[in-house]
């Protein structure tokens, strides 16, 4: 069975979705990501969807689930590279994507995550706070 690889960079997890996900693959990714957040005590999840041309309510819900479950485990989720047509469609569909941050590309997503991280956290291995704070 296919799987989407999850990369780890420090305390961030990176996922690049290369194809339009079919349901089973999306559900597997959801489960794998949550498990990986827990296992690595991750503080951030970056999901690159720049290659995804369709996000329907099912996919949207999975992204939302990943974000809310990660949040419980103290990790923020940033969706990276959403195509403008997809963003417009999601709004019209009525999908709120609560708790999901967005960024234009991986680098900006990374900056956003760093800026959101609690600087008083002693476990912190990221010292610099990005000065170019990205708002959604």
């Amino acid at each position: 069975m296919d799987k989407i690889p999850i990369l780890r960079m420090g305390r961030f997890l990176l996922v690049t979705i290369q194809v339009d996900l079919y349901d089973r693959l999306a559900l597997t990714l959801e489960a794998d990501l949550i498990q990986a957040v827990q296992k690595h005590n991750a503080r951030g999840v970056l999901i690159d969807i720049s290659a995804v041309s369709i996000v329907d309510s099912f996919m949207g819900r999975i992204i939302g689930n990943i974000a809310s479950m990660s949040k419980i485990l103290d990790a923020e989720t940033v969706v990276v590279g959403m195509q403008p047509a997809v963003a417009i469609t999601l709004i019209e569909l009525g999908l709120p994507l609560k708790g999901v941050h967005t960024a234009l590309d991986m680098e900006k997503g990374m900056d956003l995550l760093r800026s959101m991280m609690d600087t008083t956290d002693n476990d912190e291995d990221e010292d610099a706070i990005a000065d170019d704070f990205i708002t959604e």
């Binding site: 089973r24 369709i54 195509q83 047509a85 417009i88 469609t89 009525g94």
Partner: protein
């Protein structure tokens, strides 16, 4: 008056058929030079309706047509199934209404994404949802 210029029926029974259907819809939309945002709206709508058909009615079929009205060309999709039907369409069309423990955005969201939306359903007989997206609509 809306004329049908081409017809193609796709039977949907399993997940591969869903992918095939979305690809066919995309091809047709590209053929009539539908813009990218409208293509995305149309395929997303198709994705919602085909999902409902699979989930609530164990599959069904989709008629894909190129239609024209005056100068406007569009894609008409007719999803029909012989599933349980929808007892209360008004409720089903409401944002957040779901008997499947999901978001309840498929039907109302689809209506917002397309230019024409029609739903007919009879309990014990099945459901037919018809949508049209105009190329420049």
């Amino acid at each position: 008056m809306i004329l049908s210029l081409s017809k193609d029926t796709v039977t949907v029974a399993q997940e591969q058929d869903v992918v095939f259907l979305k690809n066919r819809v995309k091809e047709v939309a590209v053929r009539i030079k539908m813009g990218l945002v409208n293509q995305t709206r149309l395929i997303t709508a198709a994705s919602e309706l085909v999902r409902n058909m699979m989930r609530y009615a164990n599959g069904g079929k989709c008629l894909i047509e190129v239609v024209s009205s005056g100068r406007n060309n569009g894609v008409r999709l007719t999803f029909s199934d012989s599933g349980p039907g929808i007892p209360d369409i008004t409720a089903a069309m409401r944002d957040g209404f779901s008997t499947g423990k999901s978001l309840g955005l498929g039907l109302p969201g689809t209506k917002r994404l397309v230019n024409e939306f029609d739903i007919k359903s009879k309990v014990g007989e099945g459901t037919i949802v018809t949508i049209i997206k105009w190329a420049n609509g």
